[in-house]
Symmetry: C2
Subunit: 248 residues, 2 copies
């Protein structure tokens, strides 16, 4: 939590924003001077809960998180998975009441940034406001793509599509290469994200594995047949709006 290490944390934010926008030196400097507090959170810990009115937002530095909502009878819907560089509750800057929860999946390191500072920053630097705005728009684009899956695709297509998406997202921030990436989520998580039962996720995974398209062991996913995966899942990366390649 020293000033030095906090600046280092915010470098990750700069890198993320530069993967979707062009920043001036002044804007970069402004980001580095954001106040932030870094915390290490245990797996399965909530960062913000449905109904909360947060006064800060969080930048994920390491580990995985997800946004979700719990319904009655224990049903759960996961809306998104988040990795290093993401600000999963950026929306709370302008939607003051949380309409869902945000929690860690793995142990995670996160940096908290006060809303007040973010508001000053975006008011002063319209270019940064646009970059952050864009980030939330990509978020929404991913929601739409998941809607397609849940509305119109088979379990096979949904799971394959999710794997392609996560691989590209991780690759974009240098956390994946060679069709290999970490995937520290359970089959229950996958089911809750895609609207499937854990039983059916299991059977479908066996199907995908059996066709030789992927391997998935020890929280590591290897996509062995990329072309076939994107074909059967109708995956088109346009919606991720990855205009530039981040450094690996």
């Amino acid at each position: 939590m020293s000033s030095a290490s906090e600046n280092h944390s915010l470098t990750l934010l700069i890198r993320k924003l530069e993967s979707i926008a062009t920043l001036t030196d002044e804007e970069r400097q402004a980001i580095l001077s954001l106040p932030s507090k870094t915390r290490v959170l245990a797996p399965g810990q909530d960062i913000a809960r449905d109904g909360d009115k947060p006064s800060q937002c969080c930048l994920i530095l390491d580990g995985w998180a997800c946004r979700y909502k719990v319904l009655n009878k224990g049903r759960r819907q996961i809306f998104s998975f988040h990795i290093a560089g993401d600000i999963p509750d950026l929306q709370s800057l302008h939607l003051h009441t949380m309409d869902h929860s945000l929690g860690t999946i793995t142990q995670a390191t996160v940096a908290f940034i006060p809303h007040e500072s973010m508001r000053e920053l975006t008011t002063r630097y319209p270019g940064l406001a646009a970059a952050f705005w864009r980030d939330t728009l990509v978020d929404a684009a991913i929601f739409r793509e998941w809607m397609i899956g849940m509305g119109r695709k088979s379990a096979f297509g949904r799971i394959a599509h999710l794997f392609c998406e996560m691989y590209l997202k991780l690759q974009a921030v240098g956390l994946a290469r060679g069709y290999r990436c970490p995937l520290p989520i359970t089959q229950i998580d996958i089911g809750d994200a895609l609207g499937l039962s854990n039983v059916h996720v299991n059977r479908t995974l066996q199907d995908i594995r059996g066709k030789g398209l992927i391997t998935l062991r020890d929280n590591t996913l290897v996509i062995q047949a990329w072309e076939e995966m994107i074909r059967t899942s109708e995956f088109d990366p346009t919606y991720l709006h990855l205009e530039k390649r981040a450094a690996g």
Copy 2:
């Protein structure tokens, strides 16, 4: 298309923004001086298509539109329905390539505003940028709610939830009252929005009607048992983030 009528059009935009934010006189004036061209579009006409790179965005003045994407074998997913006051392709301001299409459902009157003008406006007035940003965030919140439906709710719950949502959205802009609202969409549209076949939508509608919860005739929806509707569909309006009531 006279200057006078265009200013009148933009009054609707001011009213919409004031339902989610507070504007200064200067900001209101700035919106009124936006250039715009008004067009009347036929039903089923595309405003922007998947893959397009629009240079303007559109404000709906009258009629209904929807965002959607077509997959192979004629499958279609509708992401959202839009009514007067909405700017359904506002995202194109910062995501330059359309990852889905936008089209009319009914005959519709829309005002087109150049991206360039929107960018100047949001750069100059951070408060307006925040208001527009907030609008896209509410959009995303609605996506999340639809994901819950498609992932975890029955056809009955999904349809009932959609009806509650559309009623409140219409009420917020003065287009509905007394649990009665226009609903100019086909059962096919409902199915494509909620991930159901038109056949099952039809049977489920009969079920909902049979229970005396609604009537739906001549493109008019009447919610006869609001409490029961929100209970069975687990509808909680928080996600719409309607902080203020717009004038009726």
